[in-house]
Symmetry: C2
Subunit: 201 residues, 2 copies
DNA sequence: GGAGCCATGTAAGTAGTTACATGATTGA
DNA sequence: TCAATCATGTAACTACTTACATGGCTCC
């Protein structure tokens, strides 16, 4: 990773949009759906971002309309330009910003962890739910049954790679939760023992 | 997790600030440092957020000044109030927002994955660097050598729990990268073989 | 009495979300 | 022909970051 030379200054979201257009000329809505299906878990794209960014990319000459939009609000297909492809290649070789995580459940665990094991247990249960939800999103990246062809084409790129990472990540987190849960159980058992000792004495 | 009953409407960052004050009465700067040391990896707190939020928490009656600030810009210590403690307890029992991840390197892998294995290899190398950097942040949560007592007290809560999670998380990610790297190597080997076949024929 | 860090604070900007408005298309 | 859904778009807001300003403290 080096030479951020002549990189246009775009947000990662804009680069992702350009990336989807590099796979196939498509409309904003199609991009939105493809992004939702294939990478929502690791980079969300909302429609409030999408349309302004499309216009911005067009202004920069990185994409262009493919055919005419029939009306003021009818479907407009976009295609990547040569300079768009070049820019995308450069972006792929440039330094990435560090992974950012915002994990409220974990923050709670931090503050609860010193206190009641009960609460920690409940928070770990919640965490399990959060991550099984997360796994559902991941599973949607590569559903067992076949997709309509259009959607398949739209989520080209390397869905299997993201899928493998997502699976690895969720499974590993689930394992950690199980470990912590048995730790909690043990600490409760110990407390019980101590209590019983006190009773006897 | 249930009853979000009478929860004041605060951002998770504000809750975290309140959480730190529940461990110990302290100044903004101390909170900033404790947050940086103990939970930066999973929830960053910046000073542009901190001071306005302190004032906001005070307006809500969840914290109060502990002693007087000597001057307009001198150290001010804050302490949590009873209603602050009650609110914090309620927050700990309330539903957490889902884990949010923004992972630019993974987005690049998605778009690179279908194309050149070389590029995928470089991106995996970058990922390794990103996560070994991440691990350094985690390691700072529980440094082998002892901390000044003040800092220890400030990062009470359950640093070991966050540490264990962070370690588990980074190790597991590193393992995945290794797997993917050998996958890349294999695909390069296959390509080579095919090439050799063509040469022979 | 000045260098450098400690500490508080703010202004400006960034990147994003949600909720809504509206037009176009489809199909019962 | 009406309802639902597809598709584009925007306004208002939210949470947050960076960079800077400034004052206070310490120690030589």
């Amino acid at each position: 990773m080096a030479h951020d030379d002549h990189l246009p200054d775009l947000t990662p979201t804009a680069w992702a949009i350009l990336g989807f257009l590099s796979l196939k000329a498509q409309s904003g809505y199609e991009i939105l759906r493809a992004a939702k299906r294939s990478m929502e878990a690791f980079w969300g794209v909302s429609n409030g971002q999408l349309y302004p960014q499309l216009r911005h990319l067009a202004e920069q000459g990185l994409i262009q309309p493919d055919g005419e939009a029939e009306g003021p609000r009818s479907r407009q297909r976009w295609e990547i330009t040569d300079s768009g492809r070049a820019a995308l290649r450069a972006w792929l070789e440039s330094l990435s910003s560090p992974v950012q995580i915002r994990d409220e459940n974990l923050v709670k665990l931090f503050f609860a962890g010193a206190g009641s094991p009960d609460l920690v247990g409940r928070l770990l249960e919640e965490r399990k739910k959060i991550f099984s939800q997360f796994e559902k999103v991941i599973d949607a990246v590569l559903p067992g049954d076949q997709l309509p062809e259009a959607e398949q084409a739209a989520s080209l790129g390397a869905p299997e790679l993201l899928f493998r990472y997502g699976k690895h990540f969720t499974k590993s987190t689930m394992r950690w939760i199980d470990q912590e849960e048995s730790r909690v159980l043990e600490s409760l058992r110990k407390k019980d023992d101590e209590h019983a000792d006190e009773e006897r004495s």
